[in-house]
């Protein structure tokens, strides 16, 4: 298997974007291609979850290739729910690692704000089990809420811990010019003041408004290349050192232990094993905090902290910038926004930015090893990646 490097990265502002989806994907791709200094690619993968349903457009990758005039490159769209982004990275990795392709463009894009919030909620809910979950009106916040309730009961996580994640990530986004939320929040404003419960109402009990990521439009892109090509292009050498992917039962209630996220555990283990490192070697991580509880649980399941101690590490500031393992320093999904198909690619964008030392005021000093966890479904399809900066 050949080594695979990230030679170029690109992103759009995450917000409400009133541009066609193809332009969003193409804009991020153009940035990545320009960053890498390439104009021709062998293969294009476009990660997207909702274009047929939300934007009434199919065969997105063909449209993106055309828009970027990359013909006759191969192209395919990859739909894997909220883990579409990292699944596309995996496909791109396999294409280069196998020796089939030398230069692969991996883009992720989503335009969810084309429909109103209620329809967007329903669109995301369609990833649940159609007969055993979806028909009941289950939403992703509902799944996260039921999970949170059990987790609170079992491990002593409180609404305060959730609010701490919320404040940490939303305020971290202020250092990321591409992030959706540019509005600082305080613990007092969302938890302690007499008005807090009205400022921060329930979305699905016990989860509140500020526990959930915003609905965003946006795109992100990477250019993956072989080692030979990477050295020729002369960009900072960031290698994808490991990828792990795992699945779990579609219906959440079928899992033996309802507070386990076995797919996260296995995907992370596999990625670390492939890279030949341990969780403790990671300098900076992007976890999939679509809901605040997920950052806490994933920080345990991927092995940064023992089971049931993620919230304690959070209390001590270990997951903040300057802590032992800074998590979501660019705002995470909570602050950066969550255009579902783009998120996995955007996580990699942040990690590569960090490993290149381009993080500006949110730079993790001396970051050399990075980690991403892209969480699809409600934990039934998870892709984890490790990245390493080579000198």
């Amino acid at each position: 298997m050949r080594d695979v490097y990230v030679a170029g990265i690109g992103i759009t502002t995450f917000t409400r974007l009133e541009y066609p989806l193809v332009e969003i994907a193409s804009y991020a791709s153009m940035m990545a291609l320009r960053d890498a200094g390439v104009t021709e690619v062998d293969q294009v993968y476009v990660a997207n979850m909702g274009s047929p349903r939300v934007n009434h457009q199919t065969a997105l990758a063909s449209a993106v290739v055309d828009s970027l005039s990359l013909m006759p490159a191969g192209a395919a769209a990859i739909e894997n729910g909220p883990a579409s982004g990292a699944a596309a990275i995996k496909a791109g990795f396999q294409a280069v690692a196998s020796g089939m392709d030398d230069v692969v463009l991996v883009a992720g894009a989503e335009r969810m704000r084309e429909v109103n919030n209620l329809e967007a909620t329903d669109f995301v809910a369609t990833l649940t089990h159609p007969l055993a979950e979806y028909i009941y009106g289950v939403t992703l916040p509902a799944h996260a809420a039921m999970f949170t309730r059990l987790y609170m009961e079992r491990y002593g996580v409180t609404e305060r811990h959730l609010a701490m994640v919320s404040v940490k990530n939303q305020n971290a986004a202020l250092a990321n010019e591409w992030a959706h939320l540019q509005q600082p929040i305080t613990i007092e404003g969302i938890l302690d003041s007499p008005e807090a419960m009205t400022n921060n109402p329930y979305v699905a009990e016990p989860l509140r408004f500020f526990d959930a990521c915003p609905v965003s439009d946006g795109g992100a892109a990477l250019v993956l290349v072989s080692e030979e090509k990477a050295r020729e292009l002369g960009r900072p050498l960031v290698r994808i050192s490991g990828i792990g992917q795992a699945t779990d039962t579609h219906a959440v209630f079928e899992r033996d232990e309802p507070t386990d996220l076995l797919a996260v555990r296995k995907a992370a283990n596999d990625a670390f094993a492939m890279a030949g490192i341990t969780p403790q070697d990671v300098d900076v991580a992007e976890l999939h905090d679509a809901f605040t509880i997920l950052e806490i649980v994933e920080s345990e399941e991927v092995g940064f902290f023992p089971r049931g101690e993620g919230h304690l590490a959070l209390e001590k500031g270990e997951t903040a910038l300057g802590g032992t393992i800074p998590i979501n320093v660019g705002g995470g999904l909570k602050g950066r926004g969550h255009p579902v198909g783009a998120t996995g690619v955007a996580q990699a964008w942040e990690i590569v930015t960090q490993l290149r030392g381009d993080g500006g005021t949110r730079q993790v000093e001396g970051a050399r090893v990075g980690f991403t966890c892209n969480f699809g479904g409600f934990g039934n399809n998870v892709v984890c990646c490790t990245f390493v900066r080579e000198s």
Binding site: R16, E18, Y19, P20, L21, E23, N55, H56, Q57, R111, E114, N116, N117, L118, L181, Q183, P184, I185, T186, E188, G189, I190, S193, P194, E195, A196, M197, T198, N199, N200, P201, F209, F210
Partner: protein, 252 residues
């Protein structure tokens, strides 16, 4: 003998008890002041409503156009028994709500216009308006309609409004919904907040001047982009029109 036409045209406003100002802490930790706006201050509001006429999203254009006309008519004495409340953060305008008294027992909610988003300022402003109708003016119920899906979800469903579909609302003649005193009392605990009295420094700052909103909603960068993607996926015909608008030729 001259006829004083103005005497005929100008409605005589019923005296209405003023709204007692209140303040609340927002999610950002900032304090927001809700207070009644005098007729003299209306022009200060209009300057900040006008740009929103061009924001073609979330019904900002429709709401801003109607608010503009209601406030202007109020200022020029062509709207009977209207009141206007404003939410200010550090003096900056964050939201405008207005409504009117139909009879001593019945209120008519007009509009809620949020100029600061992501902090539920609009929700606080709407709650203050209902508080004014029910608690201060003593109305038995308030007739309400929504123009946007956000409004519908927030008012009709959060407050569990009752249908008054036989009564057309003054806004567009559409069927009305009603907030009754009972519904308001039920919502009080979760939806209505605010502390009184407002500390002097906060109130002085708010009364001193209505400052421009720091981050108001803005029109899309590309005015045709939204339309283009919805109705013309190829974009070519509208793109050509846009180029023409900008003085470029399509084949340049």
């Amino acid at each position: 003998m001259s006829v004083d036409l103005e005497k005929i045209l100008r409605p005589v406003d019923t005296p209405m008890k003023p709204y007692e100002p209140k303040y609340m802490m927002l999610a950002s930790g900032e304090a927001a002041v809700v207070r009644q706006v005098d007729r003299d201050e209306i022009p200060d509001l209009l300057r900040h409503v006008e740009p929103l006429l061009h924001v073609e999203r979330d019904y900002y254009d429709v709401v801003a156009a109607r608010v503009y006309s209601e406030l202007l008519a109020h200022y020029r004495h062509r709207y009977q028994d209207q009141y206007v409340l404003a939410v200010q953060i550090d003096g900056e305008l964050a939201a405008i709500v207005n409504g009117r008294q139909v009879t001593p027992d019945l209120g008519m909610s007009l509009h809620t216009l949020a100029l600061r988003r992501g902090l539920r300022v609009g929700a606080h402003a709407f709650a203050a308006k209902m508080e004014y109708h029910i608690d201060t003016l003593g109305h038995d119920e308030v007739l309400i309609v929504a123009e946007s899906p956000i409004g519908f979800r927030r008012w009709m469903i959060e407050y569990r409004l009752e249908k008054r579909f036989d009564t057309p609302h003054e806004l567009g003649g559409v069927p009305s919904w009603a907030l009754t005193r009972e519904l308001f009392d039920a919502a009080r605990a979760t939806l209505v907040v605010g502390r009184r009295p407002v500390p002097a420094d906060l109130l002085d700052k708010a009364m001193d001047a209505i400052l421009p909103p720091s981050d108001p909603p803005t029109p899309p960068l590309d005015p045709l982009a939204a339309t283009r993607s919805m109705y013309d996926p190829t974009g070519t015909s509208l793109m050509a029109q846009r180029w023409e608008m900008e003085g470029r030729s399509a084949d340049a």
